[in-house]
Point group: C2
Chain length 228, copies 2
């Protein structure tokens, strides 16, 4: 096994640490969450959604490789939308429409009134990581996307089956991530495997991914406690 | 006169501080620079060109307004090119082709061997400004683009008239900036006028533009001294 293959295997093993195993997610996918719990999750998770392009721009601003930047920037337009596609484009807008489909108003999502301190702290920690750690570690921290498609597919099925009070048109964000996340994680893995050659670099990449799993888990903890 | 109009006028008055008046630029546009001086300028100025998308991504990562980000991101793709348009796209690549048209090799541009310390310090100061100052001030610092089209048109004419040893195909960067700079400065001015309402904010915007004029001037000073 090459050192690259071994690192890929070590990184993929963090699937076990992914927040899909969090009790709140398990209940969500089992269809047992109440409308208030779903709404609480959507409103809180918006703080994370909003931070994604900010985090990705921080990585862009610290990456010296034009070829990497040319591909990384797609993450930002995926979330922010583009001037060409108009104000309805992008993942942040899609998440707001999910919120509306769940019965939240746009205002109560964008003013963050529902956002729990634990969610805010975790999201801020993620942005600070991207702003301050070596850019390759910040890239490695995004690799939770390796595990996202399974959760996304399961979630989509659960929402369509159990949470029929939500207009299925509101689930477009999840549908988009089904193809965006694999494309993004493939690129991020390529960058990490190309740049992390020494044991120290490989340990740092793994620690970055573990840190990111902690961020996502802490978000779920805070939501679970607030809407128990 | 509204407070916005007054601010716009104060900002435009910094045209007098723009590096188009620098003796090195005056000689460039008079057609009296030697090939070595032109090459020195191109190789040094590359350090600035390379820093632009990094600086703009820093602004993007600190701007909380999705609508502003959707327009600002265009600056990054203008300089980096895009994955869709391929490795030959973007202003950094266009600048490298300018360098080749002047007789420099790609290698001696990208390894920064010609870059003067004063150029490096000025460019780093600009990136640090974008990373650390309030994002609206960083936007204001970009407003030297208000003055760029005149210099760019004059330079293009001078290169075509006096520096005929340079393949005119290499001048595409200047041609692109003729329409990019006005579009960019119009947006930046809109943002600054919308956000800078108090005297303190307006002073900070003006100071940011003055700082940026100093950056550009210091770059020219270092080049002028190195290739006198």
């Amino acid at each position: 096994m090459t050192t690259s293959d071994a690192l890929a295997e070590r990184l993929r093993a963090h699937a076990a640490q992914y927040h899909s195993a969090h009790p709140f997610h398990v209940r969500m996918n089992d269809g047992t969450l109440t409308p208030d719990q779903i709404r609480g999750w959507v409103a809180n998770r918006f703080a994370y959604q909003e931070a994604i392009p900010v985090k990705d721009a921080a990585i862009l601003s610290r990456c010296p490789d034009v070829a990497v930047r040319r591909r990384w920037i797609r993450r930002i337009t995926d979330h922010d939308g583009t001037a060409e596609d108009g104000p309805d484009s992008g993942g942040i807008e899609a998440w707001l429409r999910l919120g509306e489909a769940c019965g939240l108003t746009r205002g109560e999502i964008t003013d963050h009134r529902h956002v729990q301190p634990g969610v805010r702290f975790a999201v801020d920690a993620y942005v600070t990581f991207a702003r301050t750690k070596p850019w390759v570690e910040a890239v490695a921290s995004s690799l939770t996307e390796l595990f996202a498609p399974d959760l996304m597919a399961e979630r989509l099925a659960a929402f369509e089956k159990y949470y029929t009070w939500i207009d299925p048109a509101g689930l477009q964000y999840f549908r988009n991530r089904l193809f965006q996340a694999p494309r993004d994680s493939e690129h991020a893995l390529e960058v990490v495997l190309a740049h992390c050659r020494t044991p120290q670099e490989q340990d740092a990449a793994e620690a970055a991914l573990s840190f990111k799993c902690d961020v996502l888990w802490a978000v779920m903890d805070a939501i679970d406690h607030a809407y128990a």
